[in-house]
Symmetry: C2
Subunit: 244 residues, 2 copies
DNA sequence: ATTACTTAGCGTATTTTATACGTTAAGTTT
DNA sequence: AAACTTAACGTATAAAATACGCTAAGTAAT
């Protein structure tokens, strides 16, 4: 009843932000028992899995994420499906996929999710951590199958969503400084923001709440810490006109 | 080699705008030969199809659309995947699906597309037209399976996209008046726009070109016709800041 | 031909929001 | 106490959005 469905998979693009760079969590492929495949072990892939028969897609993605990051209730958005019949055409990688799954793989349509995690607060299990790596989106090597394409689309989606949704907070610690928030936007969007105007702007947001606490352990004037007030955001959200 | 893949389907939410209302193109289910199913014939569904084995997802959706509307190069966006294991749980509808496809259906994950067509310029084939109906999104009956849910999500997506992408034009005739454009936004977004400010706003858009032609056959002052200049749009598109 | 009616189309004044840039304050390190 | 670094506030200007008044150009009715 809990068989794997060999036709449909989920893949997760897990983004993290380490104050300087936007990163993606990738894993090394598993080593097989009778390893005689002609693929270097360093080949990286997105965390993903075939879905199981009775499992909802979102549930599959959450499962993959829980296994990999130890995080439970996490930001996770389905953003695209990849179903090109030749997406698994690479014969070496395909041989490996067949070997690991033990299933007669023909065509796999994969549902892609992207996820935003607070790197420092995530807590991957030991075993997986050893095979998982945070790689900067600017330094991605060639990955298995169409995983580079999937990440590119995830990035595009993230940038687009970041314009209209308050999701940047998902990548920062619960308590953060305005400078961290600004850096995040600058890095992900690839722009420069005037610090003074940025503060004025976010200062007006009802859902960005100052805490009675300051940054600690920095060798300069410590900044106040802020948090994202989700409830305030949901109240305030009003649809204002449109843009052609 | 061109077998149907019984695990994956595409469904298309085809939007049209008739100057007053936003509509969706739905079709009556096919009548079967040995018809003894306990389902009224009036039950409507989204145009869709199982994909065939060697076919890309986008290609499948285009195929469905071509068959139904006679339109070839058309606006078509993948917007979501629906894979709840119980989405086909309605036993009557499922029996009918099994009968029409002749396949042992177990679980079908469907990839949903939305499409924008110019109602008056579309040209459905005769046979299909007899089974196809434009239904206002405000007057949708209960459809098969989870098709109401799919349409709701398509609508949400359309409204969101309409804020940032110049896609409204896809729903209007090639030549349209500013009033038509305004009505379109008012109806789809459910808002009222000040006619004078609307004109000022769109008047600044480089990609909205006046034609040396006026409306004909109206019993009042005829308005100038406009067209959407796609090339101008692509040139002008510049990324302007962001919104948290 | 005049009047009524309807929608097109232009304009101006005001408020709100975004941009550009100067300056002081509060910490740490030497 | 001086040098250094980042936080934090402010003001002047430009651009964009909003609110609202009015005239123009056509058709239809009298």
């Amino acid at each position: 009843m809990n068989r794997l469905n060999p036709h449909i998979s989920v893949d997760c693009v897990i983004f993290g932000f380490d104050e300087k760079q936007l990163k993606v969590l990738l894993i090394e492929r598993e080593r097989l028992q009778d390893e005689n495949l002609d693929i270097p072990m360093e080949v990286l892939k997105l965390p993903g899995s075939l879905i199981s028969d009775a499992e909802d897609l979102d549930a599959s993605a959450h499962r993959v994420l829980l296994e990999l990051t130890g995080l439970d209730k996490i930001f996770l958005h389905q953003f695209s499906v990849f179903g090109d019949p030749s997406r698994l055409a690479n014969t070496k990688h395909l041989a490996w996929l067949k070997a690991t799954s033990g299933l007669p793989i023909e065509r796999v349509v994969t549902v892609a999710y992207y996820s935003l995690v607070k790197i420092k607060e995530s807590n991957p299990s030991e075993t997986l951590l050893s095979r998982a790596k945070w790689i900067s989106v600017n330094e991605l090597p060639q990955l298995v199958f169409d995983h580079n394409i999937i990440i590119n689309k995830a990035l595009k989606t993230l940038r687009k969503e970041l314009r209209t949704e308050p999701i940047g907070f998902e990548l920062l610690p619960k308590k953060f400084t305005l400078r961290q928030l600004q850096n995040l936007y600058e890095v992900i969007m690839g722009i420069n923001l005037d610090n003074r105007n940025f503060r004025k702007r976010v200062g007006k947001l009802s859902y960005l709440a100052v805490l009675p606490e300051k940054q600690k352990g920095v060798s300069h004037k410590p900044a106040f810490l802020y948090k994202f007030d989700k409830k305030a955001f949901e109240k305030e959200r009003k649809d204002v006109g449109f843009v052609i």
